[in-house]
């Protein structure tokens, strides 16, 4: 039984679910994204790797318009997403809300809401979005909880859970909205090492079940084993793109080679005198 209730539920096009064209983003004078283009097909899982500050998070945040691109086009589920300051306030709010209901995002710090129980955390957004009757939504949430083995914790408050448990709840909280794409930004970076595995396992399971996702990660082995494709970002530009085995096994660009050497053998960093990539 698939973990995601409807992996590509109701996608209206056969083409890419997400298409970014020449996305640029400036923070003041600093250009963080310098023309990024990218297409993600339904069911695909894509890893994004790159050095700190290369613009990975900014790229993800442009997809759900947490950051407004300076220029470029976002095509999602067959429609062009309007953004920009010239939009009328309420229209803009509605566009953002509608987009985010279909684009799930999970963060490094799990950000569960401490005043709600695990179950309440999961059902809140589907209830607000009117995705179904309360009983149905609760039923689905409980199903999701069962699948990650946390049904018994449904009435606990997040503060009573381990980091790994909280992050897995955060992931199924996003899934409860039945998103057409899931954005994961270094979701294991804040976890104690012994808790990383359970979260990666869940993501791997979702990928296998055909959940479309964009995963920013520092876990190279995970990118290699789980994602269909990997993208290497360097200073706001996609420098490498292709099947994960190729990009990670035999990257063409010098920067990617150095980056991989550094993250795969962090202890060699000093000895080899590798400078910042």
């Amino acid at each position: 039984m698939p973990l995601d209730p409807s992996p590509q539920g109701g996608s209206s096009t056969a083409g890419p679910i997400l298409e970014l064209s020449d996305i640029r983003k400036k923070f003041g004078a600093l250009e963080v994204l310098k023309g990024v283009s990218l297409a993600v097909s339904p069911g695909e899982s894509l890893a994004i790797i790159g050095a700190s500050g290369s613009g990975k998070s900014t790229l993800l945040r442009c997809v759900n318009l947490f950051e407004q691109p300076t220029s470029g086009q976002i095509r999602f589920d067959g429609r062009d997403i309007e953004y920009g300051d010239d939009l009328w306030f309420w229209k803009r709010e509605r566009i953002l809300r509608d987009l985010r209901r279909e684009v799930g995002m999970v963060f490094q710090s799990y950000n569960l809401w401490p005043h709600m129980t695990v179950l309440e955390n999961i059902i809140e957004a589907p209830l607000q979005a009117g995705l179904g009757r309360r009983a149905e939504i609760v039923g689905k949430a409980e199903e999701l909880l069962q699948k990650i083995g946390m049904y018994e914790k449904r009435n606990e408050y997040p503060s009573r859970l381990s980091g790994g448990q909280q992050q897995r709840v955060a992931i199924i909280r996003a899934l409860a909205m039945e998103p057409k794409i899931l954005l994961l930004d270094e979701v294991t970076s804040a976890l104690d090492p012994e808790l990383v595995g359970e979260v990666l396992e869940l993501i791997a399971q979702l990928a296998a079940e055909g959940v479309t996702m964009l995963v920013v990660t520092h876990e190279i082995a995970f990118a290699r084993d789980v994602s269909d494709r990997t993208i290497f970002v360097h200073k706001g530009v996609i420098e490498e793109e292709g099947p994960s085995a190729e990009v990670l096994g035999n990257p063409g660009s010098e920067h990617a080679q150095r980056f991989l050497r550094r993250v795969l053998h962090p202890n060699l960093k000093k000895a080899a005198g590798v400078s910042d990539v």
Partner: protein
Amino acid sequence: MFDVIQDWWVVVLPYVPLLLEAALFVLQITVCVVLLSWVVGLVVALCRASGVKLLEWPARFFIWFIRGTPALVQIFIIYFGLPQFGIKMSPFVAGTLALALNGGSYVAEIIRGGLIGIPNGQRESALALGLSRATAMRRVILPQVVRVIIPPISNEIASSLKNTSLLSTITLMELTLQTEVIVASTFRPFEFYIFTALIYLLMTTTCIYGLQIMERRFAVRY
């Protein structure tokens, strides 16, 4: 010592019903003031935090003006000043309004402090799930703010209660003015003002501890 207290009671006792009635009136005014000041405070705090200049600046100005001027002057502006523009209110309405605006500016700052204390990730995760900004505020942010602001808010309620004594200056027969009137005919200021002080003390203490107990009941939830 015993004699003094007995004498005191003999003096005060006949006036106790009158004073308690005035105290009840104080509570009524306080309830009105507090409820209204929460509305004012919430609106001003949300404007202040909205990031919209057109809302933010009036809110800032309001807080700056109210906190920088004496409550008594604010009361006089509303009760004596506004009638010049045809806005005439009863002492009760004018007084309640003035104290609510005054309290509202303090409540606004308390709420703002609470808002700042909520990590940004809480808001972002709500928006990321497709909650509108208003829903995120109502369902995710404010419930967390409420918990941290209960202690300062209970102090603010006590302040509002004490501030009602300022309304004695605009002929509102609340506890302070009632005491003044009694003193004028009995010539026993010490006994009566001490007794009145004790009534105020009882009311403020009850309200502060009552809210603390409420807070503890909230706190066991998470």
